[in-house]
Symmetry: C2
């Protein structure tokens, strides 16, 4: 099968860029890796179809907000944050992407990317230019389906992030985030109990729509309660059911008037009696 990608795209010079830059012309990889990343069995034709790889150094942007939409990106390894800059200069983190996630789809409706994407560590992506993609999708139903599923996942992901921000209490938001990360880790076949956060406290705060100091305090609380052990960005979940219980209460205003309030002194878990006495003083 002869797939013709846009001419010259695989022949870019392999120049090197200083720290914070992008290495655009890394060796091309094969489409079969894309299928694998998307969770589909590799197909014969894919081994012959070269895809451009883009390496992005930590802190560099894969594409800036407002960039003209040209490609879809499949994260190969590394991690990214998606952010929107308000007129007042505040950068709101609206998304988080890791290996297997698809980036850049938001830009299809409008022809400018509404969100910018920045690498949280040295990363690489597969680049699927929009023109030529339709042909590829028509050629391979498996790729087509996989992309659909990936995009559906991105939509769900965005909604899940919104779900985290909905909680009133900051520890609940944080607990939800940790559980969410845990699920993602599990889905990727990695340990759901022990992982390293790729985002800074600031980014995390922005994602959860709280102040970064509040994130620090939140980690402190969850650790104090024995749910997690936190050392900088290294997170270990000690009490998964406890953390999950913490996740529940979005807000107190519910139909059921007598509902346990995990934010109140009574229902806040306490690992020993000494702390309880202190709290009552």
């Amino acid at each position: 099968m002869n797939t013709s990608l846009p001419t010259g795209i695989s022949q870019l010079p392999e120049w090197f860029v200083h720290r914070g830059g992008i290495v655009p012309g890394a060796q091309p990889h094969w489409m079969s890796e894309a299928l694998t990343l998307l969770g589909v069995a590799a197909e014969a034709w894919a081994d012959a179809c070269a895809v451009r790889v883009m390496r992005v150094r930590s802190g560099a942007s894969l594409y800036p907000e407002g960039a003209t939409t040209q490609s879809l990106y499949i994260v190969r390894h590394g991690a990214f944050k998606c952010l929107k800059t308000a007129e007042d200069g505040y950068e709101h983190v609206l998304g988080y992407a890791e290996s297997g996630d698809v980036l850049g789809f938001e830009g299809l409706a409008c022809d400018r990317q509404p969100l910018g994407v920045v690498a949280l560590e040295d990363s690489s992506v597969l680049v699927l230019p929009f023109d030529g993609l339709d042909a590829l999708r028509r050629q391979s139903p498996a790729l087509d389906r996989a992309l659909q599923r990936a995009l559906s996942s991105q939509l769900t992901c965005a909604q899940e992030i919104a779900g985290m921000m909905a909680a009133v209490a900051s520890e609940v938001r944080l607990a939800r985030f940790l559980l969410w990360m845990s699920l993602r880790m599990a889905a990727r076949g990695q340990s759901p109990r022990h992982f390293v956060l790729r985002m800074s406290r600031r980014d995390l705060a922005s994602l959860l729509a709280v102040a970064h100091e509040t994130v620090s305090r939140g980690f402190g609380l969850l650790a104090e309660w024995g749910y997690v052990k936190v050392d900088k960005r290294d997170v270990e979940i000690l009490d998964m059911p406890g953390l999950r219980a913490c996740t529940c209460s979005t807000r107190r205003d519910m139909n059921d008037p007598h509902h346990p309030r995990p934010t109140s002194a009574v229902t806040r878990p306490r690992k020993n009696a000494q702390q309880a006495e202190e709290a009552l003083s």
Copy 2:
């Protein structure tokens, strides 16, 4: 709870179901209407291709959370809210859809709908069953592209909603929502300055992740400042630039330390429209 569905829905007259029910077997419409709703020029083949129409009465659910994913829905007229029910019973509104929006795509990745969809008023949708849809998309590149764009829009929409919740001050969240609605109205060719909200204060509060009383007070403030005129769900925007200025400050924690706060008396806009233009500097 709500009124339960009648036992024999098929025995009912086709066009009548009691309040809160669904009319499953309405007259089929033509695919060309789908194309029109998606913003594409109608094509000849589409006039021959019948699509099922589903009518949903106000308060009824198009599909519940956890439903098996079978179809994509294009909103024909009316309005819907998308919501996720937490374990504690709290219903979080995560989305809002009107004419031309596409619903149900989240369910493609997992095969259960992560979100439920409820009609906010008597509405109707076009039903595109997933099986058969691939064939249709292959048949019509225009439909394919239109669906892609629509889904991309849904993704952007979810992120925009998250963007609203990010603001600290409740009036800012509300102002962002109103501006967002205004843009949507304009995109639909309707008045961007005067519209009727389809959501209750409670739903709106849930969408913005604040208490419903806070929404009331927020409307009161925006009205007091002369930005809008609000009568129940009827909203008229009086000072668009003012409202837009109100939208800005996500939080004070920024690089630029001296930034006006829209909640302070200083930044209160005068009724004079000319001064409102450049009140901030």
